[in-house]
């Protein structure tokens, strides 16, 4: 599970003037041919930097994303739902492990990434800074937040960096169960009692604005984003991803007799694009910068886990082994 709308670093200079033009041309030709870039290949600094940032944000999102749903394991209705939710949360944490490893091959240590998460330097998907009040909120996350994540992840799996693509292939295979499980939960709420339907509708009303934020603000076409697209770091614009999500899931929400709290939401049959009320991007910025309902709690939980696990790591510290970057 992963929130897209990566916050790519906007830097004034691309730094490309400092790169060897011959090597840069070979690198671009390789991507053009559809070949993957591997850790031992030459790559521009900008490519390395942006990939580390993107994969690291993705990994943090998996870790933090497990928290709002993890809260519901003890209160999940019935044994089957508990079993499934536990397996899902375990998967998400496993995905973080795969992603940290992929980022490590680019030269940033796992330790440094975890440190940057708990000291507030790195970002993660903004949607996890909101609270899951009821079981229906947990159902919304399992189905629709995961669905949004899969839209992003399937696109990124066609990217150019080998270790990231391989991690994503594994992750997407596992996510298919999450999506089906989430849909199953929502269908049961939709076809249940009047009270259950009300709960589900209330969750949809709560989560729709953060869901629209999920794919990030419209990206302006800049030289910078053009380069990232050419290098297959970014596989589509935020608006394209959002449109694809709406196309696939709005009909499925409507099919269950629920409404979506945006009276302007409709598909323009001429352009084939969805029209909607512009999400509140000021709110998005405020929350991503730390002032959301759950930002402090999420980081505090993560930091506490780190502090409480310290004695275990100290007891296990083995000078006979050595930390090195993974090979592939």
């Amino acid at each position: 599970m992963y929130g897209g709308g990566n916050t790519f670093e906007h830097i004034k200079s691309n730094g490309l003037e400092n790169e060897d033009p011959e090597k840069l041309a070979q690198f671009e030709a390789r991507i053009e041919r559809g070949e993957k870039i591997e850790p031992n290949d030459w790559m521009p600094q900008l490519y390395r930097k942006q990939l580390i940032r993107m994969i690291e944000q993705h990994a943090h999102s998996e870790i933090i994303g497990a928290l709002p749903e993890g809260t519901w394991i003890t209160r999940a209705p019935g044994f089957k739902r508990k079993l499934a939710l536990m397996a899902k949360v375990q998967d998400e944490v496993g995905h973080a492990q795969l992603l940290y490893s992929a980022a490590e091959t680019l030269g940033k240590s796992r330790e440094q990434m975890i440190d940057d998460l708990i000291n507030g330097k790195s970002k993660y998907s903004n949607i996890f800074n909101y609270p899951a009040f009821t079981w229906a909120d947990s159902c919304f996350i399992s189905w629709l937040v995961d669905a949004g994540a899969i839209v992003n992840q399937l696109a990124n799996a066609r990217g150019s960096y080998g270790p990231y693509c391989r991690a994503l292939d594994r992750i997407c295979a596992e996510e298919s169960f999450h999506l089906k499980y989430g849909h199953h939960c929502v269908i049961h709420m939709a076809t249940g009692t009047e009270k259950q339907r009300e709960m589900m509708q209330a969750a949809i009303n709560r989560w729709w604005p953060p869901m629209m934020h999920f794919f990030g603000p419209s990206d302006k076409i800049s030289v910078h984003s053009e380069i990232l697209m050419r290098w297959k770091v970014k596989m589509g614009s935020n608006d394209d991803m959002r449109n694809q999500f709406l196309d696939m899931y709005v009909p499925k929400i409507w099919e269950l007799g629920f409404t979506i709290p945006d009276e302007n939401l409709r598909k323009n049959e001429v352009t084939g694009r969805w029209e909607y009320t512009e999400p509140d991007w000021e709110e998005f910025k405020r929350v991503i910068n730390g002032d959301g309902p759950c930002n402090k709690e999420r980081l505090a939980v993560r930091r506490t886990a780190e502090e409480r696990g310290r004695w275990v790591r100290e007891a296990l510290l083995a000078p006979k082994t050595e930390y090195v970057a993974p090979l592939a």
């Binding site: 591997e38 991007w281 709110e283 002032d291 759950c294 505090a300 939980v301 083995a318 006979k320």
Partner: protein
């Protein structure tokens, strides 16, 4: 145009909804670093999906020793799919050849053996990268006096074959591997149907719901 206002608008902090979190009485004010560094060692993991299939590299884990690396690897890489064998090796103990591309094979860069007749030999595991973007595949085990000699011994076998873009060679004694009697650890995998998408069919429920409308 009015923007889509979030339900949570201007809530900048709230008490946790998880009673366990509230009991922890977490400090939510300061952001601190977790130093000192205590990063564990790096291991590469190889797995076999079916009895008659070769082992493939699947990814790394971090652990304080081989045994724990094996346990982490089992959770990370064989939790969700069938598995018949798994082994781990410390990343620094893998000898990595040069990389080639196109029609150029790594074996063009392996020099011929100086001396083959050497009394003390040990066994080495050989892995090939046959396609860019894929992962290394197990090829075979060779007895030789060193990794270099081992490669030169197999050179003639692969030089006219399809190009090999990279070779990993590992001393067999550096490997921590599952044994035949360990295979029971994967016995319960097929029972965990709740991890498969197919266990969540609900088309009938939707159909019934629509008919009721």
């Amino acid at each position: 145009m009015a923007s889509l206002r979030c339900h949570f608008y201007l809530i900048t902090y709230m008490e946790s909804l998880d009673p366990r979190v509230n009991r922890l009485n977490l400090s939510t004010t300061e952001l601190t670093s977790k130093a000192p560094l205590d990063q564990l060692g790096t291991y590469e993991v190889f797995s076999q999906l079916k009895e008659d299939k070769p082992y493939f590299h699947v990814g790394p884990v971090h652990a304080p020793n081989c045994e724990m690396a094996f346990l982490f690897a089992k959770e990370q890489f064989s939790r969700r799919q069938t598995c018949t064998g798994l082994f781990v090796v410390e990343t620094r103990n893998i000898k990595v050849s040069v990389f080639t591309e196109g029609e150029d094979t790594v074996y063009n860069y392996i020099s011929n053996p100086g001396e083959l007749a050497n009394g003390n030999t040990e066994s080495f595991e050989l892995f090939h990268l046959k396609k860019r973007g894929k992962q290394h595949e197990y090829i075979g085990t060779i007895e030789a006096s060193s990794a270099e000699v081992a490669l030169s011994m197999v050179k003639s076998e692969f030089i006219n074959d399809k190009p090999v873009y990279n070779i990993w060679i590992i001393k067999t004694s550096d490997i921590e591997s599952s044994q035949d009697e360990d295979k029971i650890i994967w016995d319960t995998l097929p029972d965990k149907k709740f991890r498969d998408a197919i266990a969540y069919k609900a088309a009938d429920k939707i159909k019934e719901f629509k008919e009721r409308q």
